[in-house]
């Protein structure tokens, strides 16, 4: 007799997703995911950067300031895409996870597996975009390599959020609410300028956003400004992701019992 799959079969969910994507190699996947951030990097980092010059108080070219934030955003978006729309379709229309209920797979394993897959997907994006940043000559410190693992933490946090959102979605339109939050967060969570431009109370608001911490972490590492403050940013993402994962697990358990 066979042994039951470990960890509720989480790795098997990943394997299945890899199979479905076998038409595209990691490189074509990376190409699609870095397309958008490259456009931002060119338009804002290089284009607007030509007007801005150096960022006051930090003394790096504007493009080098924006690039690590775009890296964090790209990895966040990869994780979100995989866990919101894709997962929602499999959950509601394909009833994919329901079909796994009669196997030795567990619901916890399914959730963990999708999160793992989202992180893997973000990893491909992260490596791809870091290569782009390097090609533009925007790497300022060897610490920049660590921006990718930091981005995995971002992917974990937002992937877990996406799985919870997919569990509560009442239809495709529900994801418009996610966009309603994501777009302003992308624009205002210090992607394009330091948090010091804000007045005190706006600053508090921005600093409460998960993307702010993802960007702080990514930027601090990429610019080689490594200090204990980065641990706080990382801790924020771990806690946020952990809470979201717990919410997702509980919600999925309820959904699957129906």
């Amino acid at each position: 007799m066979s042994r039951l799959p470990a960890a509720g079969g989480a790795h098997l969910v990943v394997l299945r997703n890899v199979w479905v994507h076998k038409g595209g190699t990691p490189w074509t996947m990376a190409l699609f995911s870095v397309y958008e951030p490259i456009l931002y990097l060119l338009a804002l980092g290089v284009g607007v950067g030509a007007l801005v010059g150096e960022v006051p108080g930090i003394d790096v070219p504007y493009a080098a300031f924006v690039a690590p934030a775009l890296l964090a955003v790209a990895m966040m978006n990869s994780a979100l895409e995989e866990t919101t729309n894709t997962v929602y379709g499999k959950l509601t229309f394909d009833r994919f996870y329901h079909s796994l209920l009669v196997t030795p797979m567990t619901v916890r394993g399914m959730v963990a597996g999708e999160l793992l897959w989202a992180a893997a997907r973000a990893l491909v994006t992260g490596v791809g975009f870091l290569a782009v940043i390097a090609a533009f000559g925007l790497v300022r410190s060897p610490w920049a390599v660590m921006a990718v693992p930091a981005g995995l933490l971002t992917a974990f946090a937002f992937g877990a959020f996406g799985l919870a959102a997919a569990g509560y979605a009442r239809g495709w339109h529900s994801f418009q609410y996610v966009q309603l939050v994501m777009l302003p967060m992308f624009l205002f969570a210090t992607t394009f300028y330091p948090v010091t431009v804000y007045t005190e109370w706006v600053r508090v608001l921005v600093e409460a956003l998960p993307l702010y911490h993802a960007i702080e972490l990514s930027r601090g590492l990429a610019l080689g400004e490594v200090g204990p403050g980065l641990l706080l940013n990382a801790a924020y993402l771990v806690v946020f992701g952990g809470v979201m994962l717990a919410v997702a697990q509980a919600r999925w358990a309820t959904l699957m019992a129906r």
């Binding site: 007799m1 066979s2 042994r3 039951l4 799959p5 079969g9 098997l12 394997l15 299945r16 199979w19 479905v20 394909d94 009833r95 994919f96 329901h98 079909s99 796994l100 209920l101 009669v102 196997t103 030795p104 797979m105 567990t106 019992a257 129906r258």
Partner: protein, 305 residues
């Protein structure tokens, strides 16, 4: 030891007072083909979900392969095969990949599944479709693939929820043939159906369910002997004249929306009486009693609801 033993088994869903399964008891022995018959909403699917260790009983006791499904659900699921009502195949994968991936979910190795999938494709008569995407298969092929998929782990018990609903007659016969083969190979089959011919073809023993309860249990022959006569005379009258005709005729008559069923050991005798009392039915047919008559007798009221 019976493979499955249920006693006072109940299923209630949260937020409803209504019991989908309201206390049923049955035993399934090794190698048997056991059927659950009943109209829609009788509680068949809820029972099947409990047997598949997917949903927990709300009351009563259930033992599957000698174990408690609430405690050992995961280990038990590894020993069961399930053919759900909606095939729930992985539409993004090919026929062969569906089998291989499904085997991995059971903890089987890739190497083992490569060999096993070839064997199962042969069994399901899908060898020439191995590389096709599931989307492109016909309903009958999908069903056969779902059955092949449920066999990846060589299950001791195979649960089939309405295995031939929605299939054309040819596809049904191919499917029945495959199920016969499994049965002769010693697999215990448990199925739900609302097709009486299917139940008579496949089931050694069955229970008829209605409103969450078991109305009766036995072999198809036993049930026919117990509840209906040897023959049945079917009479059709113009709409609105059925009730009148039934009264006039008297005897053991069941009034259905579209026809009268007269139960008798000699159908022709009743037919003679029909003309004697001056009734002029549109059509009249004497036939042997089937499981369908039993079914209509026991659950007829809820069918007309």
């Amino acid at each position: 030891m019976a493979l499955i033993e249920a006693e006072g088994l109940e299923k209630r869903y949260p937020g409803t007072d209504f019991a989908a399964v309201a206390g049923i008891g049955f035993r399934v022995e090794r190698g048997e083909a056991f059927g659950f018959l009943g109209p829609n909403g009788a509680g068949k699917s809820s029972t099947m979900r409990m047997l598949a260790c997917v949903s927990q009983p709300s009351g009563g006791s259930l033992r599957i392969l000698g174990e408690d499904p609430v405690v050992h659900g995961r280990a038990l699921r590894a020993r069961l095969g399930v053919v759900p009502q909606d095939d729930a195949l992985d539409l993004q994968l090919t026929v062969r990949e569906n089998l291989i991936v499904y085997g991995l979910y059971f903890g089987l190795s890739l190497k083992r599944m490569r060999a096993k999938s070839a064997e199962l494709l042969e069994f399901a008569q899908l060898a020439d479709k191995a590389g096709e995407r599931v989307e492109h298969l016909s309903g009958g092929m999908r069903r056969r693939l779902t059955i092949a998929r449920s066999l990846v782990n060589d299950p001791e018990i195979l649960l089939l929820d309405e295995p031939t609903t929605g299939l054309d007659p040819q596809a049904r016969h191919i499917l029945w043939d495959r199920l016969f083969r499994l049965k002769s190979a010693g697999v215990t089959l448990i199925l739900t159906t609302h097709y009486m011919d299917e139940a008579e073809q496949l089931c050694d023993r069955l229970v008829i369910m209605d409103k969450g309860l078991i109305a009766d249990e036995g072999t198809p022959r036993e049930l026919i002997d117990r509840h209906v006569t040897r023959e049945v005379l079917e009479l059709r009258f113009p709409p609105g004249e059925q009730e009148q005709a039934a009264e006039k005729l008297g005897g053991d008559v069941e009034v259905l929306p579209d026809r009268l069923l007269c139960y008798a050991d000699d159908g022709d005798e009743v037919l003679t009486r029909v003309t004697e009392v001056g009734l002029r039915p549109l059509t009249a047919l004497v036939r042997r009693a089937t499981l369908e008559d039993v079914f209509l007798r026991l659950t007829g009221r809820s069918l007309t609801d």
